[in-house]
């Protein structure tokens, strides 16, 4: 939870005057969100989100992120849509930071995941993948297999502080992933962070997806691996094969898998577990006392990784 940049009332009113949004009626910093500062901005024309992009976001990536949101929204995939000022610009500057206003998305993110949530997330991810096929910009995934060893090496010397023997486990897994990671699979724009807190529901129905600030070009099956890990494990660490089967089943109804994608799903799920394990480990080891954001537990993803290491094929996910 974090508001890193405090925006004053006069700066805000001047900023909003560049848009056709009417008068500012209220403005509240939002506690959720880790990377950027988000405000809920109400004007006489409705509710909006004002985001200030903080240091961990590369400014050069913002046209990709904002462009993808706009691209998706134009194709009926509900997500926040960047608003343009009267001069046409969506990416602006406020308080010395890149900043944008996006549309407000109604809904709540689900804490207790039900199979029907997984069904809708699977279908929404497939629609996102299909909608992105004609998106013209490219962004390399900065947190994929080529990047894990650097992260690993920066953590290995201290990883025993979190769990004894962790460096050995991760080192062996990294060797395996590097040796077996595919080079040729159906690919396109991935969300790459589609956890429950990034998917909103109104009642039973998915109302939209948010937080496209890890979006990148990568294998679709890798994005599916991320969703399997984010949605189909219970709080006690157990894998819920019913949820996985429903999620993957609804995905493939919208975008059928190739056989190669199906067979490699366990490896993709291991890679996804590795990615979140390593970044959480890095964040925990490098956590400053007094920082605004509490680090998440990396070991949650060790349990997930170890589940997938035992998997011998896609039938473990309920697929033929």
């Amino acid at each position: 939870m974090a508001v890193y940049t405090d925006v004053g009332d006069e700066e805000l009113v001047a900023f909003v005057a560049a848009y056709d949004l009417g008068e500012v009626m209220s403005f509240k910093g939002i506690a959720e969100g880790v990377e950027n500062t988000n405000y809920l901005l109400q004007t006489t024309t409705g509710s909006h989100i004002l985001t200030l992009y903080e240091k961990r976001v590369q400014v050069g990536d913002l046209p990709y992120f904002l462009g993808f949101m706009e691209h998706l929204a134009a194709r009926g995939v509900t997500c926040p849509t960047p608003l343009h000022g009267r001069d046409g610009a969506a990416l602006r500057e406020l308080c010395g930071r890149p900043a944008a206003i996006v549309t407000f998305l109604e809904g709540l993110w689900p804490r207790r995941i039900q199979p029907q949530h997984c069904a809708q997330v699977g279908a929404a991810l497939a629609r996102l993948h299909l909608a992105g096929t004609d998106f013209p910009l490219q962004r390399r995934n900065a947190l994929s297999v080529a990047d894990w060893r650097v992260l690993y090496e920066s953590c290995a010397g201290r990883s025993h502080e979190i769990k004894g023997g962790l460096a050995q486990i991760l080192g062996a897994e990294l060797d395996h992933l590097e040796a077996h990671w595919p080079t040729d699979l159906p690919a396109g724009v991935c969300h790459a962070d589609l956890f429950p807190d990034n998917v909103f529901f109104l009642g039973e129905k998915l109302s939209g997806m948010i937080d496209f600030y890890f979006a990148c070009n990568d294998f679709f099956a890798y994005d599916l691996g991320i969703c399997l890990n984010a949605w189909c494990f219970e709080h006690d660490g157990s894998f819920n094969v019913t949820k996985a089967r429903i999620m993957l089943g609804h995905y493939r109804q919208v975008r059928p898998f190739s056989d190669a994608e199906l067979q490699i799903l366990p490896l993709m799920a291991r890679g996804s577990a590795m990615r979140f394990l390593l970044t959480r480990l890095y964040d925990l080891l490098n956590h400053r006392e007094g920082a605004l954001v509490k680090p998440k537990d990396p070991l949650e993803f060790l349990a997930i990784l170890q589940f997938h290491q035992q998997v011998r094929g896609p039938s473990a996910y309920g697929l033929e």
Copy 2:
């Protein structure tokens, strides 16, 4: 900035079902606020604030705070108004905490204080004081002169960590305040924390006051001393007599001072400076690393205190 209690979607929907508020459309934790957890709750009937009362609030005080807000709103003093569930109750429980939903107040709090803000705050404080005269509940000010010595003694031994000689300065001031504090002045319900972040404006016009969780029965002149200190000092510590004259002038147009109140204003302003100096000092000395809220600077109020120590009468505030 803090959300201390995370409320899940299912718990929220069940809680809101006790009210006639329609369906939940969105729910965001608000970063502002130090004592309690606040969420902006949008339903099909509009925007509302859901507050969960955290450990520093005495549960027994909540009927006073909520009752006073309702009392004020009924008399046209704009402030959040507690909503009642269909069973009539405004104070309920959520996630093991006392909780209430109040109306949403539009407006922004001003960062750069102008004389016209001070004019409106003065008048609004006077209206609050008058509107409270027939409020039937009583709450002793738990942070007034009788309470400062305990705070002082818990800080004195370590106050040199903040500034050398601070214990001597505060000890001498405390002796003076205890010896001269009045026992008989016009009194009633005070806001007791009317800082700029608790007063909203829409454009030039004051749209309401919030945060009544320090409200208490005390001298009206003491509440005026708090406002003088909160609104009439510049960021460089200098006193702006124009703002003070305007604030006090607009106050007395709504509720005229007695001569006793006028003469004692410098002492009230010293007492107010002492109260915020001591609580900020206590919070700073007892700050836990990793706490969600960054402590405020106590020495800001030392400069304010020392200004008022030089004052020889109300003419220093621009009053005859």
